[in-house]
């Protein structure tokens, strides 16, 4: 097992035994189950577009709570000093925490596969938007987790980490609104920074490389800055 594997095992154990993770998972599935049942009952349409947007909102709100502990807790308890004085590159520490948080969110998303299964059993859903929606949720999770980890790496206060990442997510969410006020070419920049703008395209069943590139680029950038923040001592 590589160093990344050793660290990932520890992080997965911490993530999947944390009461915070189970609380978040329970809230996510409870709200989604309620929304799905209600939507299906009223519209009677085999479509998950509304559900994916609900998941988007919940992920934006819940991910900061999930990632706020990543480094802030290790910094507070000084265990980060143990990790950073071991012969382990910072990128492995960051990578393990990122993959563990992503695994937790993916497990939550996997549990929601019950919804398309229900649609398939009782109707004829269009699968392209469903595949696109799940791909969008995974890419969105990558971005949210990486930004959440970045803010956690900059402070030892978990509340500050969570509040800062939530602030960043909301600013990105509503970035396209600022485009109305900004002059060209800044308006294009704001539109392209929009979190929801790139998400909606996927949920409609269209797959553009630029949308995937947005999530991948911002995720990698955040992970890079997190690694630099850890290395800068």
């Amino acid at each position: 097992m590589t160093l990344l594997g050793v660290l990932l095992r520890k992080e997965l154990h911490a993530a999947f035994t944390s009461p915070v993770a189970y609380a978040i998972g329970a809230v996510f599935l409870l709200v989604m189950g309620y929304t799905f049942s209600l939507t299906l009952f009223f519209t009677k349409v085999a479509n998950l577009t509304y559900i994916f947007h609900q998941m988007y909102v919940l992920l934006v709100l819940l991910t900061p709570v999930l990632t706020m502990r990543a480094f802030a807790e290790e910094r507070r308890t000084d265990t980060l000093e143990l990790l950073l004085t071991a012969p382990v590159p910072e990128i492995a520490i960051v990578g393990a925490k990122f993959l563990a948080s992503l695994a937790l969110i993916t497990a939550m998303l996997a549990a929601s596969i019950a919804y398309p299964v229900v649609l398939w059993l009782y109707g004829h859903p269009d699968w392209a938007p469903i595949y696109g929606g799940y791909l969008a949720l995974v890419l969105l999770s990558c971005l949210l987790v990486s930004v959440g980890m970045l803010t956690s790496s900059l402070t030892e206060n978990q509340v500050v980490a969570a509040a800062t990442s939530l602030g960043i997510f909301l600013m990105l969410w509503f970035a396209d609104s600022a485009a109305y006020l900004a002059p060209a070419p800044l308006d294009t920049l704001f539109i392209n920074l929009s979190l929801i703008g790139h998400f909606t395209t996927f949920v409609r069943g269209s797959l553009f490389l630029s949308d995937a590139g947005y999530y991948v680029t911002l995720s990698l950038f955040s992970l890079f800055v997190t690694t630099r923040a850890l290395a800068d001592r």
């Binding site: 160093l3 000084d78 143990l82 990790l83 071991a86 012969p87």
Partner: protein, 235 residues
């Protein structure tokens, strides 16, 4: 000085925090198998110096080598030779002792097939073999300290660094820790810090006195009968 080769070499090491020196122009050598005590009041730069040796902090100026490896240019090679116990004794409370020691052994480069043996050896060395199955959160302060020392020894490093190792221990635990540290000498090079003169005097072979980030003197404990007077005259 003996003819033993230095394992830790600090050359004109300085650490600045926002332009303010926490450690200033320190030159120091620690020989193979010796115990060197860093002595100084709180805020004298002991922890900063130790953290630079471990590679946790980078020097603003000067150079540091551990077993011939520069801590900035070859950080991984240097860290493989070090076992470190920070002052706050950080441990993963949700783990059991065996799990924690195995985790630290793997991180420090012990091959998977040798981990069980390494954990058994380190736990016997510091007398925690009877609590290997206990969750760390359930351990007393004394046991936590010993587990922290065990994780520093689990990969059999050349250098063991302990920051204020007897802080918060009861008198019996202090005596046991002193004995343990003295036993490490010869097999490992030990660098400890303390703000208690009597503590360093009882454990170390040589003492380095720091004040406001500056190294004031390095003396052999055996050759300095009145260390207290020397300390008072320097500080």
């Amino acid at each position: 000085m003996s003819d033993r080769s230095p394992v830790i070499v600090a050359r004109r090491v300085t650490k600045l925090y926002g332009g303010v020196p926490a450690v200033r122009d320190v030159t120091l050598e620690v020989e193979q198998g010796e115990i060197l005590g860093l002595l100084g009041p709180n805020g004298s730069g002991k922890t900063t110096l130790l953290r630079m040796v471990t590679g946790y902090l980078s020097p603003s100026a000067g150079s540091l080598t551990v077993a011939g490896h520069d801590t900035v240019r070859e950080p991984m090679a240097a860290r493989r030779r070090i076992g470190y116990v920070p002052e706050s004794v950080p441990l993963y409370s949700h783990m059991r002792v065996r799990e924690f020691l195995s985790f630290m052994a793997r991180l420090r480069g012990v091959p998977r097939e040798a981990v069980a043996k390494a954990v058994a050896r380190a736990s016997e060395r510091v007398d925690v073999a009877d609590v290997l199955a206990t969750p760390i959160r359930a351990l007393s302060r004394g046991y936590r300290q010993r587990v922290a020392i065990a994780q520093a020894l689990v990969h059999n490093p050349d250098v063991v660094i302990l920051d204020e190792p007897t802080n918060g221990l009861d008198p019996r635990q202090i005596i046991e820790t002193r004995r343990l540290l003295r036993d490490l000498a010869g097999e490992h090079t030990v660098l400890i810090s303390s703000h208690i003169l009597g503590e360093v005097e009882k454990i170390a072979r040589r003492v380095a006195i720091l004040l406001r980030g500056e190294l004031l003197a390095v003396r052999s404990v055996a050759d300095t009968p009145d260390l207290e007077a020397l300390f008072l005259s320097l500080t």
